[in-house]
């Protein structure tokens, strides 16, 4: 993928690429003072873009949402042989009781027999997180277990 990087002096850096199916560009503006904007070419004017400011948590959540399906598909493929075991991605919402708490505190494995195999944060995959791993709101977790166990895990991560 050819990502075009443009420096915006005094503001930050812009990174974008062309979409193949539609004749548009999509990307982000990294502000020097920390903010991120999502940018997307407007219809009818190839030069101008829609600019959507994202907070740090929002950007992280979006990155996880985009990164999760591929990882889940890959894990599902690996577990295909095992009957009754499936893989699902779920969000740790910013208002979750476990946001900014340790993975060990959820006692997820004891309570549901399902296990967290990866966490997606800011577009990066953190594989096999240990009990000392600290969640942040907006993290996307990938969980492996039975369907009932996965349902229970989802409600634990959302409501405690």
């Amino acid at each position: 993928m050819n990502v075009e990087v443009t420096s915006l002096p005094g503001i930050g850096v812009r990174k974008e690429f062309s979409l193949t199916k539609v004749d548009r560009r999509i990307g982000i503006v990294d502000h020097r003072d920390g903010g991120t904007d999502l940018i997307f070419t407007k219809i009818g004017d190839p030069d101008s873009t829609v600019q959507i400011p994202l907070s740090a948590v929002e950007a992280r959540t979006l990155a996880s949402l985009l990164g999760a399906p591929q990882l889940v598909a890959q894990l599902r493929e690996e577990h295909r042989e095992l009957d009754g075991v499936s893989t699902r991605s779920m969000l740790v919402p910013p208002n979750s009781p476990y946001a900014s708490r340790r993975l060990g505190d959820t006692e997820l494995r004891t309570r549901t027999r399902a296990s967290i195999v990866a966490v997606l944060r800011a577009g990066q995959v953190l594989a096999s997180p240990g009990p000392e791993f600290v969640f942040a709101g907006g993290d996307m977790v990938v969980v492996v277990g039975t369907n009932a166990g996965l349902d229970a895990a989802a409600s634990i991560l959302t409501d405690g």
């Binding site: 915006l8 812009r14 030069d47």
Partner: protein, 397 residues
Amino acid sequence: MSGTALALIQLGAVFFGLGVLGRIAARIGLSPIPLYLLGGLVFGTGGLIELREVEDFIHIASEIGVVLLLLLLGLEYTAGELVTGMRKSWPAGLLDLVLNATPGVIVALMLGLGPTGAIAMAGVTYISSSGIVAKVLNDLGRLGNRETPTILSILVFEDLAMAVYLPVLTAVLAGVGFVAGMTTVGIALVAVTLVLIVALRYGKYVSAIVASEDREIFLLKLLGSALLVAGIASAVQVSAAVGAFLLGIAISDSTAHDATKILEPLRDLFAAMFFVLFGLSTDPTTIPPVLGWAVLLAVVTTVTKIATGWWAAKRAGASQLGRARAGTALIARGEFSIVIAGLAVAAGAVPDEFAALATTYVLLMAIIGPIGARIVEPVMRVLAGRKQRVQVDPLAE
């Protein structure tokens, strides 16, 4: 009432008044600079109330304001950005310089402001307000647009040109002879080059000298070094502002980010004092005679800035709409036009009409700029629509 009590009351009233003005400006989506100038006009010589007790403070505060304005301008860019910006945008930058400085020179000469006034006015009409432009681009959601890097690189060129222009202006204002003047300019050019090289290669060492984990120590070291450098630069006639600007460039990376964060509120405070002082020292009764000229200059330099942006964006391959957006985005003049005018007025080298012309001009441009940038898209659509209708009509018959 004691002098101190009166001074505190006056200063409090000025700050509070500026806060209210700033709020009004934010509400209507304008830069607060024109309102600060108006505030100064109201309270100054020939205005409603005179502020005698705090004059000394406002004077030194406004000097610090200029130093901080330029220091933060330097902090905004890395040396690398300045060098690449310069390399990429010099043709557009030169066109910008010629098209927009010339009207200032011509009007100043026609008004009889003399060669010194003409050189100062050239700077006032030339330089766009990077503060207003960057804010407008972000507010209107245009950071992703194709023409935006072109606009920003023109701003970079202008700001670098300031580093060369200010020492020239200072030399001219001081009325030193040709040889002494050229020496000053030479010193400034060497200093600019040296600082760029130092910043490119050894920026982290300069940063390390001022950097500190402790906020308080960091602030004191930063402010101390800025005032020291500005003072020394001023002593060798290079202009305090340029010294501060160069120090800002030399400080890099995370230190620069932290410095910007910590200094921004201070700059806003002291720069507001500077704008007020400029308004204070302008006699409102000198404005009506130059009003017509200021309006003419505003109209002409609006057109020349649009032409500059249009041409630069066209070179970068932008569509017509993008070219129009680039042109209108550059219209706003603001803080640095006032810095230039402030230097000229403080040196006492220009007639009273100069301050009146500069104030009125910047008032107009700081208002026209953001409005122009906002209405350009609908205006272009209407124009495009009309053209289309003309093309479609014959087919309908």
